[in-house]
Amino acid sequence: MNDWQPYVDDLLKRRTPCGGFSGQPGGRHRPDAAAWAVLALRALGAIPEPGPVLDRLAQGQLRDGRVPIDPDYPQAFWPTSEAILAWNGSAAHASNQTRAVDFLLRTSGVHYRLDKDAVVEHDTTIRGWPWIEKTHSWVEPTAMALLALECAGQAGHARAEEARRMLLNRQLESGGWNYGNTKVYCVELRPSMESTGLALHALAGHVSAKDVQKSLDYLETEVSGTRGPLWLGWSVLALSAWGRRPAGIGAWIMESLERQSVYGSYDTAWMGALLLAARCENGLHAKEAS
């Protein structure tokens, strides 16, 4: 048994009777939870047969390729990217992955030209991906879509290149990213580590370090002091992808996991991010996660 085994066991208890995973023990299947669970368990060698989970993800895929959070609410299609990552390397789900990728490539957020008296300052015409259909593109779903396209061999697609431009445009002048507004009424908003981690990870290998130096500095400065599961997980994954994996992260991740005794059990997607951060020394690349 290794140090992570209790948390692996915890994740495995979240399997649903229908073959998927829930966000919390005893809950209903949620596609993003299933995707992160299978990614983390595969990385840890703890799920010898992920097929049923991937099948359950495929059952939730709609005809147009999207994988919504809930079949009764198809406009929330952001888990499509997570499903693409989970299906990667599974020959039985290659067509599901292809349809999901095609969906992403023909979908974007709502984009428009700013009025002259606009109070936000980012370039609203550069396309990325939204959380929810028919809304603006934001940082995290765009970064996640880029990670998904990369693992599916579409990193060079024009939409991926445009999305990387979008992320760079949304980078805060002082470093880091937040959900996706840079300035409102001329005042720069604050960064968050999860948005920054996701954006940096998505840009790793595609932009130079000097383009994102302040953001890397921000994460490197803050990472040792944070134990929030998403903040820590995505910071470590991003720094690892940039070859700057910090020393001592195993203990930080363990501390974060242990805090569930106070906060209550973490969402499966957060557990997944933390366990992947513990395992993936070069970031969330398909080779390691599969």
Binding site: G23, G27, R28, R30, D32, I69, D70, D72, Y73, Q75, A76, W78, V110, V119, P130, W131, I132, K134, T135, H136, W138, E140, N178, Y179, V184, Y185, C186, V187, L189, R190, S192, M193, E194, T226, R227, G228, P229, L230, W231, S256, R259, V262, Y263, G264, Y266, D267, A269, W270
Partner: protein, 356 residues
């Protein structure tokens, strides 16, 4: 709702008109009283509280008693407290978020009345990692001290609920089951100015009830269908039972995140959210009729007119303190203009031929 569908339709049209920001005057002319057949009657309670160090549980308990909240209403019930944790900061949380001592006070007050379970639920608008929010806001200490459990509403399991407000184009809301199943939903808001909405109080705080997994971060769907309209619709659909607004230290200027601390020294409480928000607005020196979602509220949701809100505890005049607005923020500029007009008229408002 009335028994007359034609009257309801007319009221809804008037509410929509008010929500376009075009007609506080009509809202305040008393037409809602004509439509409803009688005036609204509700109470709000204002307590002076200069510090988070004082016995706020006693203050909250006293306010609840003044508002007629009885043990029989609470005993054995599940209470869901909804704080404002939209975003936190390691250095400014005291003026961004509902203060943990106010949360502690509310948990204890409901526990003293025999609540079976007190939950604290939030679906933060800007950040997904709710553990960070709990730590930076200090709310984690409240969980440890009281045994209250935290529920992340952004990822909670949902149920579809028809849009009770029917002002925006949304037909339904996907609301967390835990919210629908709670016996009491309590909006635990912060007294703040807001650079899009004008003010953020008990009604706007309910934005955090709708889950990010279905509406995005920062609640993109709600912004797209209209901020004022969706504040109204969410409040109508969630139909919270009680509100406690933390104005001990509020926020003025570029709220809800980047403004400055404004010590207002009050807690404002009540069972009717538009009435609570109207009272809070007056404390801030902002007439509620200038805020479209409040101007629309009297037709269905609750009163904003002073003579329909029985004030208990402190008088508004005794605690009123103008919150600073900023000329370069569009909605603030509008509110500042209305403030100047009202001041020039000796405290009276004039809309065309109407003065009140």
């Amino acid at each position: 709702m009335t028994s007359n569908p034609f009257i309801d339709l007319l009221k809804r049209l008037m509410a929509r008109f008010a929500l376009r920001g075009s007609s506080g005057a009509i809202t305040d002319m008393g037409l809602h009283r004509v439509f409803n057949g009688e005036a609204w009657q509700t109470q709000t309670f204002i307590a002076k509280a200069d510090s988070y160090e004082q016995d706020l549980a006693a203050v909250v308990s006293s306010g609840m008693a003044q508002l007629g909240v009885t043990r029989a209403e609470v005993e054995g019930k599940t209470i869901l407290l909804k704080p404002n944790l939209v975003e936190t900061s390691s250095v400014k949380s005291a003026c961004i978020n509902t203060h943990p001592r106010v949360m502690y006070a509310a948990v204890v007050a409901f526990q003293r009345l025999g609540a079976a379970r007190v939950l604290i639920g939030e679906g933060a608008g800007h950040r997904r990692d709710s553990m960070i929010l709990l730590e930076q806001s200090g709310l984690v200490d409240v969980l440890k001290e009281t045994g209250a459990a935290f529920v992340d509403l952004n990822y909670a399991e949902v149920t579809a609920v028809p849009n009770a407000g029917r002002i925006s184009r949304l037909k339904r809301f996907m609301l967390p089951r835990v919210v629908r199943e709670a016996d009491w939903v309590v909006s635990m808001a912060k007294l703040k100015t807001h650079h899009w909405a004008g003010v953020t109080l008990a009604m706007k705080n309910l934005y955090g009830v709708v889950p990010g997994a279905y509406y995005g971060w920062p609640k993109n769907v709600l912004h797209h269908v209209g901020l004022q309209q969706s504040i109204y619709d969410v409040a109508a659909t969630v139909n919270a039972h009680f509100a406690i607004v933390d104005g001990i230290i509020g926020m003025e200027g570029d709220g809800p995140i980047l403004g400055e601390a404004k010590p207002a020294g009050v807690l404002v409480m009540g069972r009717n959210l538009p009435a609570v928000d109207a009272t809070c607005s007056r404390v801030m020196g902002i007439d509620p009729v200038w805020i479209p979602y409040l101007a629309a509220s009297p037709y269905f949701l609750g009163p904003i007119h002073e003579d329909e809100i029985e004030q208990r505890g402190e008088r508004i005049d005794a605690v009123k303190t103008e919150f600073r607005l900023l000329e370069h923020i569009h909605v603030h500029r509008y509110l500042m203009g209305r403030r100047r007009t009202k001041t020039a008229a000796g405290g009276k408002e004039t809309y065309g031929m109407f003065t009140y």
